[in-house]
């Protein structure tokens, strides 16, 4: 088992090295097979490791001594426990499907090999992140996935906008990372270790932290999570990250990497449990983010941007769950979200592929008849995200709502609002894309086609997962009768802090019905607006209402940062470059040169060429030295 665990991240690493260094002249289908095959092997190994955890104890697998500096010792070790194995399972599973899909989607791209190399490297780092037994090992993976995200957002580097988006993602993430590092330092100072095993699982070294220090450590770690998981105010990079190829958006910016923040907080559940303030901060940030994402998505017209804001909003849901102490439910939502959001992104990729690169839903419409597989799978994904029974999103979202209802009514009300918004914008996008008349050019209409098998099969598999994926977390009301309820909760019981719902089965049913009715109303409303009446989405210059403009411009967050951070920084740099650079820095450098020249001029007159003078100087020097020594 221990060897198997170390193999899991090694397969993608080997794939990355092979594709990077040895793939010259190999055919694309071969490179694609190597890339996807490496992930498949990881997936198989993950399944085997997962099966040992069904009835086993958590294990720490030490790979090698990493850092030994005085009392500071960190092993490079992997922690195998229910939480990490369940993450392994869906990461490698979804990543494999997306690799297969990419082989079709990227087939005509000149950077095909590079793409697969990056993708494999990303999976490697993601697995390190999840498997790492300490915050520091996790941080290695954390930075690694950030790097891969940067490289893949800017994958089409010839367009400057993509590079800008990549840089934005990188820089915003750095802000979060600073919080992560400071949090780690605090944990180490007070607990003497960074190992999850020693902090949380085998031992409870985390109890070294308490009171305000615990709050500070938890909030700092959460700042790290905010960066990676795109929470207010560090959310601005995620929508821009859609500049990357669509499979990247599906894998990195929806299913896996952005949920690393949730993983980290769930890992640290005992720490967050110590501080009510930190938990409240998590709830507030999550709640604001979910509302912000849901409202902005209402007005977006780029198919990927809608999905991006929907991801931001869903991540907010997960953080609300984390902040309320429902760690397992957050993880549950991560898993179901990975399925349906990957499905939606891949579906949108299929649409973009058919449209010849067009991403604007105002230029689409009526695609239903041209691409049936994409249509039906996309519909399943859309229903799943709206939380309609029995699709995956229903179970996880319903439990988040149930928890909110129990703990805090205002939070519940706002979440309901966000989830109604979700239903509306998802179906708005769905209807505009697949129903009505085609609004693009004739060329595009002529070109419309269903995607090849290699792309549709992953869609179908993900659609199946989006349908049944929720069954791992049946609520009482439904699960009691068939004997399996809250399987995931019981599985994760010993790893994270639990918070059991005390809601009765009856109220669970009522809540579910109310939530679904609300979603259904919004879906019907979207239907009546965009299909029955055939309203089209406004062009950019037709937008008149202030509220619409506010949303279409994403609450002016970018402009705000531009005005408060970028421009002052620019002004400061400009001032420095005009004043400090030429006067002080250049002055110091040139001054030292001038001093050397001047002193050389002064001293060189001593060297007059007369041998006798030199000898006299030598002898005088020796005599002086002798006197000095005595």
């Amino acid at each position: 088992m221990e060897r198997l665990v170390t193999l899991i991240p090694l397969f993608p690493l080997a794939g990355f090295l092979y594709i990077t260094f040895l793939s010259k002249g190999l055919s694309r289908s071969f490179v694609g097979t190597v890339g996807a095959g490496a992930i498949l092997l990881s997936f198989v190994a993950s399944v085997l490791v997962f099966s040992t955890q069904l009835h086993g104890e958590p294990v720490v697998v030490k790979v090698f001594d990493w850092i030994t500096a005085g009392s500071f010792e960190v092993d490079f070790a992997f922690l195998v426990d229910p939480l990490s194995t369940i993450y392994l399972l869906f990461i490698t599973g979804v990543a494999f499907l997306i690799h297969v899909y990419s082989a079709g989607y990227m087939h005509d791209d000149e950077g095909f090999n590079r793409f697969f190399a990056y993708l494999n490297l990303f999976v490697f780092f993601m697995l390190i992140l999840v498997l790492g037994d300490s915050y520091l090992t996790m941080f290695v993976g954390w930075e690694g996935v950030g790097l891969c995200s940067y490289m893949l957002i800017g994958f089409w580097y010839k367009d400057m906008r993509n590079n800008d988006a990549a840089k934005k993602a990188f820089i915003v993430n750095r802000i979060g990372d600073l919080g992560f590092i400071l949090g780690m330092v605090l944990v180490f100072i007070y607990c003497g270790t960074l190992s999850f095993g020693e902090l949380y699982i085998m031992d409870t070294a985390i109890s070294g932290l308490h009171g305000e220090v615990a709050t500070a450590a938890a909030i700092l770690l959460f700042v790290g999570a905010m960066g990676k998981s795109a929470q207010i105010p560090l959310h601005t990079w995620l929508p821009d990250a859609m500049a990357g190829p669509t499979p990247v958006s599906a894998l990195i910016h929806a299913a896996t990497m952005v949920t690393a923040g949730i993983y980290m907080v769930a890992r640290s559940s005992q720490l967050f449990q110590m501080s009510e303030t930190a938990s409240a901060v998590v709830v507030i940030a999550g709640l604001l983010t979910s509302l912000l994402g849901a409202t902005i998505a209402l007005t977006q017209n780029d198919i990927k941007k809608v999905l991006a804001y929907s991801t931001v909003s869903q991540l907010g849901f997960m953080f609300v769950a984390l902040g309320m102490g429902a760690y397992t439910i957050a993880v549950f939502h991560v898993i179901t979200h990975a399925f349906f959001k990957a499905l939606l992104f891949l579906g949108s990729g299929s649409v973009i592929h058919a449209m010849g690169g067009e991403q604007d839903i105002r230029r689409m419409g009526g695609l239903k008849s041209h691409m049936p597989v994409t249509y039906w799978t996309f519909l399943i994904g859309t229903i799943a995200i709206c939380g309609i029974f029995p699709f995956a999103g229903f179970f996880s979202k319903d439990q988040i709502l149930a928890h909110a209802l129990e703990h805090n009514i205002p939070v519940f009300a706002l979440l309901m609002l966000a989830s109604m918004g979700t239903a509306f914008y998802m179906f708005r996008m769905f209807y505009l894309t697949f129903h009505g008349h085609f609004r693009g050019s004739h060329e595009q209409e002529h070109h419309l086609h269903e995607s090849p098998r290699v792309m549709t099969i992953p869609l179908v598999v993900l659609a199946v997962l989006s349908t049944v994926g929720g069954f791992i977390g049946f609520p009482h009301a439904i699960g009691e009768s068939i004997g399996i309820h809250h399987w995931l909760d019981h599985f994760l019981e010993n790893t994270v802090v639990m918070s059991y719902s005390t809601l009765s089965a009856g109220s669970e049913v009522i809540l579910a019905v109310v939530a679904m009715a609300a979603a259904a109303v919004m879906i019907w409303y979207a239907f009546s607006v965009y299909v029955k009446k055939g309203t089209r989405a406004l062009e950019d210059d037709e937008v008149e209402s202030q509220a619409h403009r506010l949303l279409a411009n994403k609450y002016w967050f970018d402009e705000l940062y531009d005005a408060t951070i970028r421009r002052p920084a620019d002004a400061l740099s400009g001032w420095l470059s005009r004043l400090v650079e030429p006067r002080m820095i250049d002055g110091a450098v040139e001054g030292s040169g001038r001093l050397t020249r001047w002193s050389g001029e002064a001293v060189r007159t001593i060297q007059n060429g007369s041998l006798t003078t030199y000898l006299l100087a030598i002898i005088a020097g020796v005599i002086l030295m002798l006197i000095w020594l005595n």
Partner: protein
């Protein structure tokens, strides 16, 4: 341990000192490179004499071994030095150091 009765180590050292100072003054006052060169040799031999005297005084042959080394090195140095002087004379037509004052900026 006097080799010649009445002549002590101090006598040898005083002689060595006189020779060394002669060498120094010779170097400083003479302008002819060959004469300066000879003065250098004088200084070397003055120090040799001091070494031998001390060696004798302490009964340690190390000093005498050292003297042999100095003599060998001095011989080699003379060979090189005279060759340089030869070339100087051929090129410049003189060995007077006040004429050979090109070694400056």
């Amino acid at each position: 341990m006097e080799l010649i009765p009445g002549v002590t180590t101090e006598h040898y050292l005083v002689l060595s000192l006189i020779l060394f100072c002669l060498g120094i003054f010779g170097i400083l006052y003479r302008r002819n490179a060959i004469l300066m060169f000879m003065c250098v040799e004088l200084m070397l031999n003055a120090s040799n004499l001091a070494l031998v005297a001390f060696s004798r005084m302490w009964g340690d042959t190390g000093g005498q071994v050292f003297v042999f080394f100095i003599m060998v090195v001095a011989a080699a140095e003379v060979a090189v030095g005279l060759a340089i002087l030869m070339l100087l004379y051929r090129n410049m037509g003189t060995t007077q150091t006040d004429v050979l004052n090109k070694m400056k900026w």
